[in-house]
Amino acid sequence: MLDAAKTDETLLEVNNIEVIYNHVILVLKGVSLRVPKGGITALLGGNGAGKTTTLKAISNLLHSERGEITKGSIAYRGTDVGNLSPTDLVKRGVIQVMEGRHCFEHLTVEENLLTGAYTRKDGKAKVAEDLELVYSYFPRLAERKRSLAGYTSGGEQQMVAIGRALMSRPETILLDEPSMGLAPQLVEEIFNIVKDLNEKEGVSFLLAEQNTNVALRFAHYGYILESGRIVMDGPAAELRENPDVKEFYLGMSDEGRKSFRDVRSYRRRKRWLS
């Protein structure tokens, strides 16, 4: 795994955004981040830190949940995309894989994958080619292509969700919590595929993940989000070695194992940046 982002070319730039739900609940309090071309960028943090909201702000899925970006800007390849519909974003190559898979339960696995190609206009032959490509990355889906997605396992559904996104020929995938509810082995398998897709297909990833350990092993760069703010960022290798990250997110410390109570009290005393 590389220690720095692969290229310097910035694809996605989030600039100091603030997101409010229902006109009152302030969820993001000024988040800025940058996704370079060809890299895997991790967005880490605990429950309710704002990871999903950040991804949804980028992919513009906030509206249907009555969320709103009230400040800041989001640019993709230098142009402002804050007001684009999800459809237009997908056409520009940015697609989100939502937390909790969200497969179309009553569609077969193959139909699920084909819905990913909905925005494409380059003809059936090209789509069929990509379908084969997805099956080559996820051979398990090829075996189950005729079964209803609702009846497949959690791991298979995650594969369907990623495969479906791939069918849109994306440049950037916003991947939300792929490890959720999966066995460690499966998490490893999914992350290895993500790495493969990144290296062989050149897909850039912005990855929201609670599983800091796995995420930092596969990502090039990481941001740590706490209560709607970025509190730390750096190359993944550096974050892995950072004593605070080690203690709070990886559960290791130089003084050996600490009890949960000690960690909590320590956390209350110390504030990240400010």
């Binding site: 509206h63 249907s64 459809t87 969200h102 179309f104 819905t115 925005t119 996104a165």
Partner: protein, 331 residues
């Protein structure tokens, strides 16, 4: 075989025909419910409005003539032309698609993401609005609808079967209009099924039905899908309006056929196109046979309630209906 046996078959056949007519209305409900989770209370009124518009266009009525005359002091009622049936059906279809677009833009889009009950209330409002709007546009008098569909009994069938049941039996009486309705409904269902199973738009439609958010996330344009769905539902309403309107005349009570669609939906399942058809057939046949066999013993008029009781029984034992989507729950 005695005449009684053949009478039963005749009742059965007529029940099938009536069932197709119910199914036509139920179909419109299913389309919208399946793809947006909205129970469209206005479906019956849409059928009425479509029938009114069809008659209006066909006979060259001036829309809003009462308003125009009142405001300008003129006395115009007719353009003085008569448009052929097929062409006026086509024009009415366009009107219904335009109507779908307006509903999406003005009603559904601002309410996107709200609770289903709120959307349901919106469709109730829509129903009353359309009822008034239709009357305002075309007048509230009872109109005759005739797009050239054959009416009356089918003599060929009657004569061919007359010899079956002995001297007391005069052959099966089947209404030509009902036969046509059955043929058209069958074609409609086949077309809709092919469309939803084998086209990209149909697939997107089913995807939207399953999970709005996920559909949005893969770039499916919800608004476009909704316009397609409401447009198709408008067309189905038109077909139902033509069939029922040819039978009963175009008048307010046409919108009440929607009530007959409810038990059909409970039986067939709110989310299944074939379910709407089979449900309609079961209700049609069931109520006719019940009236024929049991009705005389309990004073008749069982057709008024039979369907609802049957639906109630289904709600207890199979709430998703015969063909409704399986409620997938992983453990």
């Amino acid at each position: 075989m005695g005449a009684q046996f053949y009478y039963t078959i005749e009742v059965f056949l007529n029940g099938l025909m009536a069932g197709v007519m119910y199914a036509l209305v139920a179909l419109g409900f299913v389309l919208i419910f399946k793809s947006s989770g909205i129970f469209n209370y206005a479906q019956g009124v849409m059928a009425l409005f479509a029938a009114q518009t069809l008659v209006g266009i066909q006979t060259g009525l001036v829309p809003f003539s009462h308003l125009i005359n009142a405001a300008l002091g003129t006395d115009v009622h007719h353009f003085g032309w008569h448009i052929p049936g097929i062409l006026s059906i086509l024009l009415t279809t366009l009107v219904m698609i335009g109507f779908a677009w307006v509903v999406i833009k003005l009603v559904l889009k601002p309410l996107a993401g709200q609770e289903p009950i709120i959307l349901f209330m919106a469709t109730i409002g829509l129903a009353y609005f359309m009822e008034g709007f239709g009357d305002l546009m075309w007048g509230s008098d009872i109109k005759k609808l005739d797009v050239g569909l054959p009416q009356g009994g089918n003599f060929a069938i009657e004569e061919a079967t007359a010899s079956l049941g002995g001297p007391d039996f005069y052959g099966f009486y089947l209404d030509n209009l009902d036969i046509w309705a059955a043929v058209i409904a069958t074609l409609l269902v086949v077309a809709l099924t092919l469309f939803s199973q084998y086209t990209a738009t149909g697939r997107a439609l089913r995807a939207v039905a399953d999970d709005h958010q996920a559909a949005l996330s893969v770039g499916i344009n919800l608004e476009k899908i909704w316009v397609v769905v409401w447009g198709v539902a408008g067309f189905v309403a038109l077909v139902a309006g033509i069939m029922w309107g040819s039978k009963l005349g175009v008048q307010f009570s046409l919108s009440l056929i929607a009530l007959k669609a409810l038990p059909v939906l409970m039986l067939g399942g709110f989310t299944s196109i074939p379910g709407a058809i089979v449900g309609g057939l079961i209700i049609g046949v069931g109520e006719k046979l019940f009236e024929f066999a049991i009705g005389p013993m309990i004073g008749g008029a069982t057709e008024n309630w039979f369907a609802y009781v049957l639906a109630l029984i289904f709600l207890v034992f199979r709430p998703q209906g015969l063909f409704g989507d399986k409620i997938i729950e992983r453990v």
